[in-house]
């Protein structure tokens, strides 16, 4: 297929950016979206124009690196990661608009790459169980009810891509945060720190400039791992309990 691509180009965090148009020809529908961009980059390199910078690594939908806003949708028209989106989802002759994630807390680094280190800082604020290496009890000495373990697993699948933030009109990271709170909160190992954890992670979330949640639900619709919206209810409940407990 032949396509017209409108792509956001921005030299660095300080410079202003702008959309630019490119065309690519002979795109196979078996290509992934990123392979289509590779093809464009090879073409640009030949023409002497600097290739487009974009983040990616595993190309298997698991590392959470890739992050493109495609025609206004986080990761594009299918519920998956950008690297797992294939060109058969598009039509010959189509014009596709490609932009970086847009959110206050995710500043643009270059072209389509944004800085998502705010997520790491939210984890640093308490997204862990404080167990030192070597001091763990025998694994089966603390059973975890199967249904709770299943729920913990389902939300632990979050890959930290940031699509939820990009899709949210408020730029909130509540789905990401709720997923972590729920993962650790469902397991017996997460209980001792549960109240303190939610209070400090939420404080860090707000400090980073993510917006508040007004229950719009765009986040869960864009999430490639289908993290359910009810993790946000769990987050709010734990937050309320922690405030009551004086955290």
């Amino acid at each position: 297929m032949n396509l017209t691509l409108k792509i956001w180009r921005q030299k660095d965090a300080q410079s202003a950016g702008a959309m630019q148009s490119y065309s690519v020809a002979d795109i196979s529908e078996d290509m992934s979206f990123l392979e289509m961009l590779d093809t464009l980059n090879e073409q640009l390199n030949e023409q002497g124009e600097e290739p487009i910078a974009f983040d990616h690594d595993c190309r298997e939908g698991i590392c959470g690196s890739c992050d493109l806003m495609i025609d206004g949708q986080a990761h594009g028209p299918e519920v998956t990661t950008t690297c797992q989106l294939h060109m058969r989802s598009f039509e010959d002759g189509q014009t596709i608009t490609i932009e970086p994630w847009r959110a206050n807390a995710f500043p643009v680094v270059k072209d389509l790459i944004v800085d998502r280190s705010a997520f790491d800082r939210i984890i640093q604020a308490g997204g862990y169980v404080s167990v030192n290496t070597g001091s763990a009890p025998e694994a089966n000495s603390v059973p975890a009810p199967r249904d709770k373990a299943m729920r913990a697993f389902n939300v632990a699948t979050c890959i930290g891509c940031g699509a939820c933030v990009a899709a949210c009109p408020n730029g909130s990271a509540s789905l990401f945060l709720g997923a972590k709170i729920t993962h650790l909160g469902e397991l017996p190992q997460g209980q001792p720190e549960r109240m303190g954890r939610v209070a400090s992670m939420v404080a860090q979330h707000d400090h980073e400039g993510f917006g508040g949640c007004t229950n719009i639900g765009e986040c869960t619709g864009a999430c490639p791992k289908e993290i359910p919206l009810d993790v946000i209810s769990q987050l709010n409940k734990d937050l309320r309990d922690s405030l009551r407990a004086g955290f």
């Binding site: 078996d30 290509m31 290739p51 298997e60 030192n132 290496t133 694994a139 199967r146 913990a152 993962h183």
Partner: protein, 675 residues
């Protein structure tokens, strides 16, 4: 089979090997003396690790924060080590090239992690895990290291569960496990098909906790480009800030490389796109030995290549072989037909035919090689790529008839979805197509029992070192090694090294530091100034084709010699025709690739020399000249029971081959047979 009684044996079952054939003569220089791992304690194998831990010296807690540790890599090996050394109170600096430590390639591992917990009471033990791993590795790993790995495996599960890793559980709320990769006991712990992700998130969170504590400083989007070696000892690294382009000097008392494997030398592999050999290769050029570089693991169940645009291959979990039947048409004419129209009598279930007792569950190397044989014979299926069809069927029709579609869906749903997303075909209706792909490398930097390279102060952990898997890695054991090294082994062994501190202060103006930094700057300006016509990617693709063709699953003397010549030409062309646009003082992904690709080219040459030298078939390495009458791999223990550790011979010079004899005292060497 060796019985547990062998554990006490201390006799050398195999004498030091003597090499008779020497295909690689003229490509290398033999070292005068044998290499020995002087650190492993002798004595009963089950007591060696305990002895070593006891003999290791201690570091006073008050002194720990004065000691600086650099760790390159945040995968299971590096992340776990950073967390543990941070907790212990050392001053740790952690580096990765991604935007977050959580994205290290370990995240992609699917199947599971082994541990000798014997929760199923099915006869598992430390010794059995040790035995299976050494045998599975075709007796080319170091037994003292493997025994230690099996010994600490159980602690890993405890550690991860305590961190909140959501492993599969049974109805009583206890941990579940499964059998994996042709092993007869259930010792694999898993978190659906995302075990690597869950384990890495555990290590990452433990490490972020230390970042908050201030014991670990994390440098993301930083690429290590050189090791600083002062008076023969590793004292730091040169790294490039990938956003600003700034070249930074980081000094320390000890350097740990946990930078993963180099399977991407083949261009198409299941590795993450950024996985590279640069950290290891730069250390190699500074004097660290590269051991068994030609040992590559090929995974039999990957989604086949669909065309030239392909940038990577996707693994389908090996668990699919538990229910899927593998076949190709008996007649070449049928290869283009709809598989559903090919009657039973015209199908060749070749694994079941050749290996009736293991059938579709033969080990990875055998399954892979037979698939290639079928395609080479012209009986492959799927699209034409190059001159032939690269695919065989993995058929679930019988399983669906036997168990019902719902049961199959429950077991493999996410894999079937992934397959359909990538290929556009529905595997519930049409048989899947699979083909082998490069997946893991067993070669890596040489280390002693303490995980220290031959450069004092330079430690190497995880997939980046060579020691634990021999010539073939069994499923679910790489994750085990990464975490064993990171949580339990390295923190204990590095202590003994650090007990020599405080170390002499080094300044940035030290000649060795200046030299390292200048060489990095010069290389970068060279890449930018060539001004040729070809992208780094195009060189990488060409290298990959050469490697896959001549140094892949099957290798021959003739092919390897040809490959070495081709790689040398490619290297010359790289330095004269590379084109990298943009500048050095900004984020420049083409520049990053250029540095990685030239390191891959140099490594590729060494891999071919290593493969040429090893005229025997073992593990993932099949030498055409060494096979039994019925075409099976044939090892030559009397000649090749050694680790080939290569020393850099200088630009344009010849590598120097050091041999470390593999001596088994607790296990008897046997030919592997799955017939």
């Amino acid at each position: 089979m060796a019985s547990t009684a062998d554990v006490s044996g201390l006799t050398e079952l195999n004498g030091p090997p003597e090499q008779r054939s020497d295909d690689a003569h003229g490509y290398y220089t033999p070292a005068a003396q044998k290499l020995v791992d002087a650190k492993a304690p002798t004595g009963l194998i089950k007591d060696r690790w305990t002895t070593r831990k006891m003999d290791n010296r201690l570091v006073n807690p008050a002194n720990r924060r004065k000691l600086d540790v650099i760790i390159v890599g945040t995968g299971l090996a590096g992340g776990a080590a950073a967390a543990t050394l941070g907790e212990a109170g050392y001053n740790v600096k952690s580096f990765c090239y991604q935007d977050s430590p959580r994205r290290a390639h370990s995240i992609a591992a699917q199947g599971g992690i082994n541990a000798a917990k014997n929760y199923k009471e099915d006869g598992d033990s430390t010794y059995r895990l040790f035995y299976d791993t050494v045998k599975g590795g075709d007796y080319r790993s170091r037994e003292s290291n493997v025994y230690r790995l099996a010994e600490v495996s159980a602690n890993i599960i405890d550690q991860c569960v305590a961190q909140g890793v959501p492993f599969a559980r049974d109805y009583a709320g206890l941990l579940d496990n499964r059998s994996f990769g042709g092993v007869q006991v259930s010792r694999t712990f898993y978190a659906r098909g995302q075990t690597g992700q869950q384990l890495l998130i555990g290590a990452y969170q433990a490490m972020e906790r230390q970042v908050a504590e201030g014991t670990v400083t994390q440098f993301t989007r930083h690429e290590m480009l050189e090791v600083i070696v002062v008076d023969g000892t590793a004292r730091g690294i040169i790294a490039r800030d990938l956003v600003t382009g700034e070249i930074e000097t980081h000094l320390a008392d000890v350097v740990v490389l946990a930078s993963g494997g180099y399977g991407n030398v083949f261009y198409l592999s299941t590795n993450a796109m950024g996985s590279n050999v640069t950290a290891s290769w730069r250390a190699h050029r500074k004097g660290a030995y590269m051991a068994n570089p030609c040992y590559t693991q090929i995974h039999p169940t990957c989604i086949p290549v669909s065309g030239d645009h392909q940038s990577k291959l996707t693994l389908m979990s090996e668990s699919l072989r538990n229910d899927g039947r593998i076949w190709v048409p008996k007649n070449k004419e049928d290869c283009t037909k709809d598989p559903r129209d090919i009657p039973e009598e015209d199908r060749d279930y070749y694994l079941e035919r050749i290996y009736p007792s293991f059938g579709n569950l033969v080990p990875r190397d055998i399954a892979s090689r037979q698939a290639k044989n079928m395609c080479d014979e012209g009986r492959g299926v799927g699209p034409m790529v190059g001159d032939f069809r690269r695919g065989v069927y993995l058929d679930f029709a019988d399983a669906i008839a036997r168990l019902g579609e719902d049961a199959v869906r429950e077991k493999y749903d996410n894999l079937f979805d992934m397959y359909e997303r990538i290929t556009g075909e529905n595997p519930y209706q049409v048989p899947m197509r699979i083909y082998p792909a490069v997946h893991y490398v067993m070669g890596g930097l040489w280390v002693d029992y303490d995980l220290q390279s031959n450069i004092p102060g330079l430690f190497v952990t995880g997939e980046a070192n060579f020691s634990d898997h021999g010539a073939n890695r069994l499923g679910a054991s790489a994750l085990m090694q990464g975490l064993a090294d990171g949580y339990f082994v390295l923190p204990n062994t590095i202590r003994d090294y650090l007990a020599d501190g405080p170390f002499e202060q080094i300044s940035e103006s030290h000649p060795a530091v200046v030299e390292a930094r200048t060489s990095v700057e010069e290389r970068i300006s060279k890449f930018l100034s060539i001004g040729g016509s070809r992208s780094a990617d195009s060189f990488h693709k060409e290298l990959g084709n050469i490697m896959w063709e001549y140094c892949g699953m099957e290798r021959s003397e003739e092919g390897l010699r040809k490959a070495i010549d081709m790689i040398r030409e490619l290297k010359a062309e790289f330095w004269s025709d590379l084109k990298v646009l943009g500048t050095a003082d900004s984020l420049n992904q083409s520049l990053e690739k250029a540095g990685r690709v030239i390191d891959f080219i140099e490594l590729g040459e060494l891999m071919c020399i290593d493969a040429l030298n090893r005229r025997e078939s073992c593990g993932g390495h099949f030498r055409a000249e060494s096979q039994t009458e019925d075409g099976e791999a044939l090892r030559h223990d009397e000649e090749f029971a050694y680790v080939a550790a290569w020393e850099w011979g200088g630009d344009g010079g010849q590598p120097v081959l050091h041999k470390e004899d593999l001596i088994y005292t607790a296990i008897e060497m046997k030919q592997r047979s799955y017939k």
